[in-house]
Amino acid sequence: MNVDLTAPAAAPARTDLPFLRHRTRAAKPERAITMSLDLTPDEPIADRRPGYQPPRIARGERTVLTPTAPMVRLTRLQSGIGLLTFDAVWSAGTADLRLGCAYTLVGGYSSVAQQDGAHTGPMSSRNPVILVRQQRFGRLTVDLRQSRRLVRMVVYSRTERRHAVPRDGNLSIRTIGDARIELPVGGAAPGSVVVLASVYTVDGELVIRSELRSFTGSVRDACRAYGFDGITWLDANTPAN
């Protein structure tokens, strides 16, 4: 095999090379050698805070989470006082639609609380962090006295009889000061598990995000998709105690 290593005839001559090789460069400031263990840089470090901070919501205000504005951030007071209440409201004819959540607590304990089966988080707790109640459409509450125990949670809905999730639904989240966060919930296929919202604790503040991701499988599939890998399951929709 012959390889032609000659330079292309059309290559322009590099007349700038002598200048680039012999130009004077600005001298680097020499750092004094010291035995000190103080590694603080000489120059101040630029502010490394993220550019985006989710918006706040004030007492008595109402905000609707949308695909373009999917997040809201509670203050430390809103994240630590009273209850955080999730209310699901659906159009008529969907009585078998159930609300539930997967959660992780400090220490790594993860499980599921839902209307049927274990409805407290942690399971069988005398003073639970999370409680799912048998209301008409489902209500989930988080005891914010224990908010420092909560690492994260995702709230989902599912149907028992494989009905479609209705198009006219709403998940309303309320703080003690009646700040309301609303998520319009679109339709989903029959038998779907729809992850409606996620809640993360960030530096003592709860960040709520609209998710609206539909899974055609089971609660277990939805939980695994959100990284809840530490849950042991009795069946596809029921966690083991």
Partner: protein, 184 residues
């Protein structure tokens, strides 16, 4: 000290640099009530209004921006909760530090402070933890209250005074916060 009485801390104790406010209670068999109790310090201006949300010191916000008032994550001694106040570091616009106790509204039945068997507050010397003063037992006088202003530490003639208040609220933390201009 009875409700309404006060003492000039910095005048009585020479060289006092700060105080630890200790709160103790006995809920008997009411374990869930004990787990629902929250102690907080509200840093107020001369009008008794909280300076901002960040000046509400409690378990989810253990200090305020200048770190002059801090809640200890783990109280020392027999107190259930403790709050440290460093007098010299308290900003000039803070005139009064109100220490409160409230029942966090949980999932279950509404509980009140009237179920407590014992409730008291005391002031300690920040330097060595020596007890300076303590309040009477508030519990016998409590009934349907769900929040209580326990005591105040406030500026007076260039020094600091400690006053036992014991004023109850049946409207819980919402009523107490509204009284101090805090929007929850």
């Amino acid at each position: 000290m009875r409700r309404g009485s006060n003492v000039a801390l910095t005048r009585e104790i020479r060289g006092l640099t700060g105080s630890v406010i200790g709160i103790r209670w006995n809920a008997g068999a009411e374990q869930v009530l004990a787990e629902s109790l929250v102690v907080a310090a509200i840093l107020c201006d001369a009008n008794g209004t909280a300076v901002s949300d960040e000046h509400f010191v409690f378990f989810n916000q253990l200090t305020e921006p200048t770190m002059s008032v801090q809640q200890l994550e783990t109280a020392m001694g027999d107190d259930a909760e403790q709050i440290e106040i460093h007098f010299a570091a308290v900003p000039a616009n803070i005139s009064r530090i109100v220490v409160v106790l409230y029942v966090n509204e949980g999932h279950g039945l509404r509980r009140s402070l009237g179920r407590l068997r014992e409730l008291g507050v005391r002031a300690l010397d920040l330097r060595d933890g020596r007890e300076l003063v303590r309040s009477e037992n508030f519990a016998p006088a409590l009934n349907a209250e769900t929040a209580l202003s326990l005591c105040e530490v406030y500026r007076h003639n260039g020094g600091w005074k400690f006053k036992v208040t014991g004023e109850g609220y049946t409207t819980g933390i919402s009523g107490l916060a509204a009284d101090h201009g805090l929007a929850l």
